[in-house]
Homo-oligomer: 238 residues x 2
């Protein structure tokens, strides 16, 4: 049987999808999975994702740097926020990070039970797609969205994956088809395309235009963040 | 405050939206709301929607014709199925219909509590948009989808409404924006655009191409199906 690709546009729809036996790609472009990709590319040893703030903060006692974001802002008491540029510093090389965000780490939690969980972002798009090409299992792209609602940037990433795999895998459901059409419509200038997006407007108010432009730039890194025993590591280093 | 428009892409996301005080437009292009529009346009007195098959069938004892569809097919024991052409017959004029479908009547049930519930389809698109132009309340388009998952045809209708109202109401969330972009991409030839859609493929296997083409034809009727005391009636006749 040929592999299939499907897209879950919001974590609130996850009960409609069976993750068992699948390769799940979790995506939260602005900015959780972009940060995770950047962190592993810059030599962070591993990332432990937490759905809850309190549990994440506790990891400090186990030698973790803590990264906490809610509503686009860094949470008080945490070492790091949700800007990819924070993860490029040499001081973090070889360190462990405990990570919690509004949407991204919740989407990871809901993907539990999948055969494989990997992290996708535009920053490692090609690496993700090359990895998926080698798989024989069915694929599910899980968009983190915004507090349960769908968002444009995660959908565009899902659409990019569908488009780049189209010669091998045909989308068989409407969500991947919609994502693919939107990506084809947007790909020439994603920054401009996203200007109207609600989350981009929300983040623009936080003065992080530089983050947005970076997170929408494809193929900056060759890392493949993969979940192994509850920890995100770079497959190529593990 | 200026009115807003939002789109709920699946009934499974309805808990994220507050319908109170809103005008809700329920859409199930293939084919529940297209049938309802057609039925009222052809002189059916009113339609009572039911979420459950058994309750719908009971209405037979109260002088109702019963219409029951599950998985695209007419259910045994019901008078009518889910093809708009079934509702064009003179024998049904002035009659009452009890209606239950896989997705459409469920979406109506989940919209309970809204200030106003109307029914939309491409067949009465312009009438729906003209009605919405006169409203000052916030608008929510509820897509019936397919068994909880999003579908392309309902999303395209939502996008058409957003596009046609854009001079008065700006979409403030990503779902209406996505729907609008998809509609703009599709509008020149919606039948061709939908060829790849999962639901259209499913229905094509049931040999209802004629239904699909009809349901995607804008502005065939000037009826405005509106919920009054649990019954769908044509606003212009009520």
């Amino acid at each position: 049987m040929k592999a299939t690709i499907d897209v879950c546009l919001s974590p609130e729809l996850m009960h409609l999808y069976d993750v068992q036996g699948k390769v799940v790609v979790v995506v939260d472009i602005l900015r959780a999975t972009s940060c995770m990709t950047t962190a592993l590319a810059h030599g962070i040893e591993h990332i432990q994702p937490f759905a809850k703030l309190e549990e994440c903060l506790q990891a400090k006692h186990n030698g973790y740097f803590t990264a906490g974001e809610r509503d686009g802002k860094k949470v008080e008491g945490f070492d790091l926020g949700n800007s990819p540029f924070e993860y490029m510093v040499p001081a973090l090389q070889g360190k462990k990070i405990a990570f919690t965000t509004t949407n991204g780490t919740q989407a990871i939690a809901k993907s539990k039970g999948a055969d494989t969980i990997i992290i996708g972002s535009f920053l490692n798009l090609e690496t993700v797609v090359n990895y998926l090409r080698q798989q024989t299992k069915n694929i599910l792209v899980v968009c983190a969205g915004w507090k349960g609602k769908v968002n444009l940037e995660d959908t565009l990433f899902a659409g990019a994956v569908v488009e780049l795999l189209k010669d091998q895998i045909k989308p068989d459901c409407d969500a991947p088809l919609m994502a693919q059409r939107l990506y084809l419509d947007a790909k020439e200038d994603m920054v401009a395309y996203l200007q109207q997006s609600s989350h981009v407007k929300r983040l623009a108010r936080l003065n992080i235009h530089k983050d947005i432009v970076f997170c929408l730039t494809p193929n900056q890194y060759q890392v493949l963040p993969i979940m192994q025993k509850g920890l995100l590591v770079d497959l190529h280093r593990s």
